[in-house]
């Protein structure tokens, strides 16, 4: 079991994480030098285009990368280092840290009933329960996510996608007592009305049980709805870290700005929730042979010239920026996600900020709505 947590340690502390696929001589570096911390009860989003390495990162956190991937760096849960300790990694799986999969239809075993699949998870993570209590717990789990308890005897193919995603959420949030739930595009496979219900369910369960979450998605609306902070990922690296308000009101990195260009503002994103990341010119660089300088350089509208093509920028704190898109007034109070970034909250991987940080001036002038 995990040792009693000390207040000072973060629930999840990832340092310098790298994941490389394939031939070690010419690896596809899907995740490079990622630092990520998640506090207790906190919800952190990771957004980025398809192929930016979000799923790879999330799976590596639980050691679920296949044998073809090499993982480096540190992954600590509750202060216990798991990265190179498969046994310790297995101990947290499903119990302390659980996962919601993108495609619930393929994430349940087609050969077994839902009841037996959930029952065995309860047996694993709540061994103190007897047979009858276990059955009752499974029924209560299903009931909590809005699936009639008698459906325990149905097989996965007898459920709709939305129902299965509810079952998946029951498995991830309620089978054990997770301190952290990792969610990989939990609503991408669902239609918009079902998506809204699932978001509601996840939010309620987190409010009730207080677990932390890492949410990976293309969907800015989902991040706005469910997260406190967000990392923007590009070509395997984190290129910006900010608060939700910061993301929408004063995006620091040129890539983040490009992402937001066609996306509506935060309040409208909240209402519609439908906004996926817009497509933008060019594609993600070849992760097997990334360009020497800034990976975003070939697509960047704010390119600074030689320095961008030559040197990889570091992820540095960005001085507080004028909130350029706050024209819509303040959102309901009390939500962490609505707070404007404080000094030190925002970091970006861009030479523009390195320059402005050095010169001590305020941030980039190029934030145009």
């Amino acid at each position: 079991m995990i040792q009693a947590p000390t207040k000072t340690t973060d629930l999840l502390a990832v340092t310098g994480l790298g994941v490389a696929y394939g031939d070690p001589a010419a690896p596809v570096r899907a995740v490079v030098d990622v630092d990520l911390t998640v506090g207790r009860g906190e919800s952190v989003g990771i957004v980025g285009e398809s192929g930016s390495g979000k799923s790879t990162l999330l799976r590596a956190l639980l050691g679920l990368h296949g044998s073809g991937a090499a993982v480096s760096g540190g992954i600590a849960v509750d202060g216990v280092q798991l990265a190179h300790d498969p046994a310790a990694m297995r101990r947290v799986r499903g119990g302390t840290v659980s996962m919601v999969f993108q495609d619930p239809v393929n994430a349940f075993n087609p050969a077994y009933t839902l009841g037996s699949q959930l029952g065995r998870l309860v047996a694993l993570h709540r061994p103190e329960l007897g047979r009858e209590q276990r059955r009752a717990h499974v029924a209560a789990m299903l009931d909590r996510v809005g699936i009639p308890a008698h459906r325990t005897r149905s097989h996965p193919f007898e459920f709709s996608q939305g129902q299965l995603q509810r079952c998946m959420i029951a498995a991830a949030f309620l089978a054990g007592r997770p301190a952290l739930v990792l969610a990989d595009e939990p609503t991408t496979s669902l239609d918009v009305t079902v998506e809204a219900q699932i978001v509601e369910l996840i939010r309620d369960l987190r409010a009730e049980l207080g677990m932390s979450m890492v949410l990976v998605t293309h969907n800015l609306g989902l991040v706005a709805d469910l997260c406190d902070r967000v990392h923007v990922m590009y070509a395997g690296r984190f290129v910006e870290h900010t608060t939700i308000r910061g993301l929408f009101d004063s995006p620091a990195h040129p890539y983040t700005r490009a992402l937001l260009k066609s996306a509506p503002d935060l309040d409208r994103v909240r209402e519609s929730r439908g906004s996926r990341l817009p497509t933008m010119r060019g594609g993600v660089p070849d992760l097997a042979a990334p360009p020497p300088g800034c990976p975003f350089a070939p697509r960047c509208d704010e390119h600074l010239g030689e320095v961008c093509d030559r040197d990889l920028p570091e992820l540095l704190p960005v001085p507080l920026m004028p909130a350029a898109r706050t024209a819509h007034g303040t959102a309901p109070a009390g939500q962490a996600s609505d707070t404007l970034p404080r000094p030190g909250d925002v970091r970006a991987r861009c030479h523009r900020h390195a320059a402005s940080a050095l010169s001590g001036g305020t941030a980039v002038e190029g934030v145009k709505a």
């Binding site: 799986r93 499903g94 996962m99 050969a111 694993l124 193919f157």
Partner: protein, 321 residues
């Protein structure tokens, strides 16, 4: 499940009907006049005519078929042209040896090939993986009768008195001796199939192990052993079960020659002997029994399929079959 069984049985009727037609056609188009053969050398024309009447050979072909089918359904397949013994009696005599040989071979295929295929999938490029490749090549290169003759030569000539290499003992009589006697012929019979089934198991496992529900089971903390045994194997067995149906047929077919090599008095040796003597009533009897067994094996495969895959059961419940 009951509905499924009945449906499947009903579907077997046309197959059996077709087989009966082919068998009858074979019986009537085979060279030689069965009445003359049965009557024996030096029989009078009256005797031959009497037999011809008894065999309904004086009727039209459709009438002959109907009468023949009626008799076959009531368990009368006629008499052996040579010994005059009822064919059904001969079959009942020979059937157990063949079934016990084929079943022993089938069990050998399953207990060797399935674990081997699983191991090969779990450790690609490992020892089991290489063995699977060697066995599938070897199975193609070395037919059952060659391996069987090798066994006979080995235990009948080089290391005598160690292991029985001829004859048959029924499991009902003496299980240990039966197994000892059947091991070599069953191994010879099974050998070409082991590599094939192991490869199917291996690729089935590889396919299933890459599925998201396997990753999900691991993510939820299911121990690796159970991920392999409960989650992966059950789904990987579907293609294996299908193939075992085919394999059973091949084992029955292969027994024709292997029985002769090992001096086992089964259906196979009966078939070979009857064909050589133009004893077609017996030949056709053997064919019919083999066809019946095929149908039953297919039924068993379908039922197993339903037991493994709930979607198939549900299909039958809804009548989508």
């Amino acid at each position: 499940m009951i509905r499924m069984t009945l449906l499947r049985l009903a579907q077997a009727v046309p197959v059996l009907f077709a087989v009966s037609l082919i068998a009858f056609a074979l019986l009537r188009t085979a060279p030689g006049d069965p009445a003359i053969t049965l009557a024996g050398v030096g029989a009078s024309q009256e005797q031959v005519d009497a037999i011809r009447h008894e065999l309904h050979l004086d009727r039209s072909l459709p009438e002959q078929y109907v009468l023949w089918l009626q008799e076959a359904l009531s368990g009368d397949l006629g008499d052996s042209y040579t010994t005059r013994q009822p064919v059904t009696e001969l079959l009942a005599d020979r059937f157990p040896a063949t079934v016990q040989l084929a079943l022993t071979a089938l069990v050998l295929v399953i207990v060797i090939a399935v674990p081997l295929g699983v191991l090969a999938a779990l450790r690609r490029g490992g020892a089991a993986d290489h063995l699977v490749r060697i066995l599938s090549l070897g199975g193609l290169a070395v037919p059952s009768f060659v391996l069987g003759m090798g066994f006979v030569l080995l235990f009948g000539w080089y290391v005598t008195g160690v292991w029985p290499y001829q004859g048959f003992v029924a499991y009902g009589t003496d299980p240990v001796e039966a197994f000892r006697h059947l091991l070599l012929p069953a191994l010879a019979l099974a050998f070409p199939q082991i590599g094939v089934v192991a490869r199917t198991t291996r690729s089935g496992m590889l396919d299933v192990l890459s599925q998201e529900y396997i990753t999900a089971a691991r993510a939820f903390g299911v121990p690796e052993r159970r991920v392999v045994a409960a989650d992966a194997l059950r789904n990987a067995l579907l293609p294996v079960v299908t193939q075992l149906g085919v394999v059973t047929g091949l084992l029955l077919g292969g027994s024709v020659i292997v029985e002769n090599v090992f001096g086992i008095n089964g259906m196979g040796s009966l078939l070979v002997a009857s064909f050589g003597e133009r004893n077609y009533s017996v030949t056709v009897g053997v064919m019919l029994v083999i066809a019946l067994v095929f149908v039953l094996v297919n039924l068993a495969v379908d039922l197993l399929y339903g037991a493994i895959d709930p979607r198939i059961r549900a299909g039958y419940r809804k009548g989508e079959a």
